[in-house]
Assembly symmetry: C2
Homo-oligomer: 199 residues x 2
Amino acid sequence: MSATVIRYDASMSRWEPDARGRIALAAMELYSERGFDQTTVAEIAERAGLTERTFFRHFADKREVLFAGQESFRDLFVPAVAQAPADATPLQAVAAGLYAAAEDFEPRLPWSRQRQGVIAANPALQERELIKLAGLGDAIAAALRARGVSEPAASLTAQSGLAVFHVAFASWVAADNARLFRDLIGDSLATLKTVTAGE
Amino acid sequence: MSATVIRYDASMSRWEPDARGRIALAAMELYSERGFDQTTVAEIAERAGLTERTFFRHFADKREVLFAGQESFRDLFVPAVAQAPADATPLQAVAAGLYAAAEDFEPRLPWSRQRQGVIAANPALQERELIKLAGLGDAIAAALRARGVSEPAASLTAQSGLAVFHVAFASWVAADNARLFRDLIGDSLATLKTVTAGE
């Protein structure tokens, strides 16, 4: 039966529409239903109507299904910081990255909400998330230094910007939220300014 | 021979002066000399002139030697936030925690510098450090909420405060630094205010 499935895949692979998206949705359904640890790649492939071989053509492992999006997050965020107007302050440059990310995330609220639930239920996935975000902070700081921002201002702005993202993201994926991600980013930036203002 | 050593320890343990400190110093020497992964508990105990049994009476494993200090960091930081004057702003309350931590760290610069080198050389230890710091951020945010600070201001202030710590710490342990940790914290707080000020 495995041989049959592989043959089926081999013949279909050229025109299989959106295999990557189907794998991602099937994986998220299973992670939500039974938990990340209890789900196998074979089960994900089966639910997606694809083979394991197809799974591994798109993702290195089942964890990557959850974290592949962070690469595009970074590829979106960092260029937006780099391309902010020359007279933008460091925080305005980071805000440009935050708003670019918010636009990209917006249509994927159901996915992000489900992903958050899966990660919150699994300490190892939470650790992975922290490590990936720390790497993003370093990349943002590097983009700021390339704009002429010195240290420690570059690192501080990058890390504060990630805190803004983190807080806005939590509000955005909350079960009862009906507001746009970009508006929550705006609020979170304003809050950061408020808490750091004054003596 | 192992039996002899254990007997020796049993007879010495009541008056062995500062076994915990001797273990910590011996461990750090070995981690710096040969790397964390290449060091065993047996070697640490031998260098400290103690038994493995004594080691395990003080530390759960060799990694804990590096991270036990983070518990006291938290136990120092969080009460300082809680006990800041009632009219302190959220960031002033966090600053009280940062300065309390700086005073405590100051005499241990050589230890902190060596620890930083060991951790920088080992990705698994870096991950551990990130996870512990994220936990501290949550504890600081909780202390701010207990002061009446609402969310998301509490989380944003806690995370920005950790960014301030992170940046000041890196300057403090730098090989050529001769400045006090508390002054670097002050500079880092001022930089945070600068980068978040204005439009």
